[in-house]
Symmetry: C2
Subunit: 334 residues, 2 copies
């Protein structure tokens, strides 16, 4: 039931009913009796303001759009959950758009999202620079915040991880533990997240005076199949790495399975540091040493930025969670 129907039932004007249900009866000095009548009747008839009328009037939809490349990817699922939970506090709902890692679909979705006049946009794009993305990001009137897959060269409001630092931390940790031959399972190297993380890894390796061996670096996408293929390539190398860093969440799943398949034991034969702390990371056997992104904090920040319509970018630091997938090895003097 809507407000005017309720008003008719109670022989009141829509205005009065509206004022009561909007939660400001005292501001308009509505009598206690009336207030009570309205509230009770509203409850009884499940009456509530129609958000379309309300939105039209206020110029707000009460919804924000969330675009992800793959909701099936645990990182984005977690992100979506945190964002939804946070938005709920201000009675906003989340419209979910999944591009399936497909730029063409993403462009179409972006247009659809914008035409829906949402109150805000939290975008985790595929990672490719497109006209639609630029339009969204550069438009002063659209409260947009970019997450995860930032576009290199395009600066805009965003919430992201210091990916270089995170990659550096992972590699530095392995080096500290005596590893000298470090492999890397990458995602799509054309995306900034992946490139930055990898550059961090390379920096740490070089800084330690070690060499980067490209033959134990592989990866060309974020899908599980990509991860499996890359894992196989890395492990089929005659001279296996002593430690491997997986640069994204799907990577570790792929790698663990391939390792098991090849009968390679962790951490005895190969040590692992994995990007993205996942719910099962600590239950895994061995428990995985991970580079954890503060997903909750990042989600909250994104929501805050959208709400306040600031135009600032925030960068978070990843944390290395030490578990049991990295073994200490004796440094070989070569």
């Amino acid at each position: 039931m809507n407000l005017s129907e309720l008003a008719a039932h109670l022989n009141l004007s829509v205005t009065t009913v509206s004022r009561v249900l909007a939660g400001s009866p005292e501001k308009y000095r509505i009598s206690e009796a009336t207030t009570k009548r309205v509230v009770e009747a509203a409850q009884k008839y499940h009456a509530a303001p129609n958000p379309l009328g309300l939105g039209l009037r206020k110029g707000q939809t009460g919804m924000i759009g969330l675009l992800v490349p793959d909701i099936t990817n645990p990182f984005f699922a977690q992100l979506a959950r945190e964002i939804e939970r946070e938005l709920r506090k201000s009675d906003k709902a989340v419209l979910l758009f999944d591009s399936g890692e497909d730029v063409k679909i993403e462009r179409k979705l972006l247009r659809d999202m914008i035409s829906r006049r949402l109150d805000g946009f939290i975008l985790a794009p595929v990672g490719v620079d497109t006209e639609e993305l630029r339009f969204a990001v550069k438009n002063e009137n659209l409260p947009v915040v970019l997450m995860d897959r930032l576009i290199s060269g395009v600066d805009c409001t965003s919430v992201s991880l210091d990916n270089f630092d995170a990659g550096y931390k992972a590699a530095h940790y392995l080096i500290q533990k005596g590893h000298q031959r470090i492999g890397c399972l990458r995602g799509d190297s054309r995306t900034a997240v992946d490139a930055d993380r990898y550059n961090g890894v390379v920096a740490a390796i070089c800084e330690a005076g070690l060499n980067v061996d490209e033959s134990i670096v592989a990866g060309k996408g974020y899908s599980l199949v990509d991860g499996v293929e890359a894992s196989r390539r890395i492990l089929s190398n005659v001279n296996k790495p002593s430690g491997v860093i997986t640069l994204n969440g799907q990577g570790i799943i792929a790698l663990m399975n391939v390792l098991h398949d090849y009968g390679v034991s962790v951490p005895e034969e190969i040590s692992i540091v994995a990007f993205d702390d996942q719910p099962w990371s600590k239950f895994s056997s061995p428990a995985i040493t991970t580079i954890a992104q503060p997903i909750g904090k990042m989600a909250r920040m994104a929501v805050e930025i959208i709400g306040s319509r600031e135009k600032e970018s925030k960068i978070f630091k990843a944390e290395l969670i030490e578990r049991a997938s990295v073994a200490e090895v004796d440094v070989e003097y070569t």
Copy 2:
């Protein structure tokens, strides 16, 4: 930009612009010239009808609400993806609500969903019978379809799996392979999905003249922690099962890790049949024999039901995907 602004720019009435953009210019015999002018200007200025005005007029929001207990759970993430993809074809968007397996939150979300006047509701509830859920499900005016966690005793439009049959298939397969001592990793036994699956398992075991040993049956929820705890209980039994069936997606993740932890090899020491085929199931080592739900088909059916506003319930059959996690054992004559 909205239609009236565009109309002003072009010295046309909103009506004409609306008719062109609604895609029915010939129906109203709009001249080719005008049509072209409108279309081009709309493109240029990124003008599109405001969905709030449109919705208010048409009594539709162009959105359907999707409620899940946990988007982080791969099954629901996959479901969400399929539903979104399907809905997109009819230009509808998905409003995502995540109850976090919490009935109290679910009730609140349900109220919120309803008050938003959505065009349809696809609900995968926590699995508990609540006032709000009944209201939603029993209301003739709300196009609701229940999925996965049906409420026993409440019949309503739904799309679900023949869970008894699925459980039966899993157990029957193990028995065929010579297993006589079958353990079971359950979810929340108060939910119908879990109970039905378990009953199917029990039926197959009894039918084969074997006994159900409750000491190798455990589980009290759908979280990973619940799964780990249950796995430990099952495996710490002095008389270990020869085959284990996990009744939900999180269960297999928990079990695999605990098995590895305990140094139990699959399928040599213990065979496994797992509910829900997951992207990594086939890459796992050994590849997991699973009971696969036709998620895509179910999603499509749910969307179709919502669209056509039928009031029918559809039940799908699960398929056993044979892989390498079950070993054939010699039948012992006791």
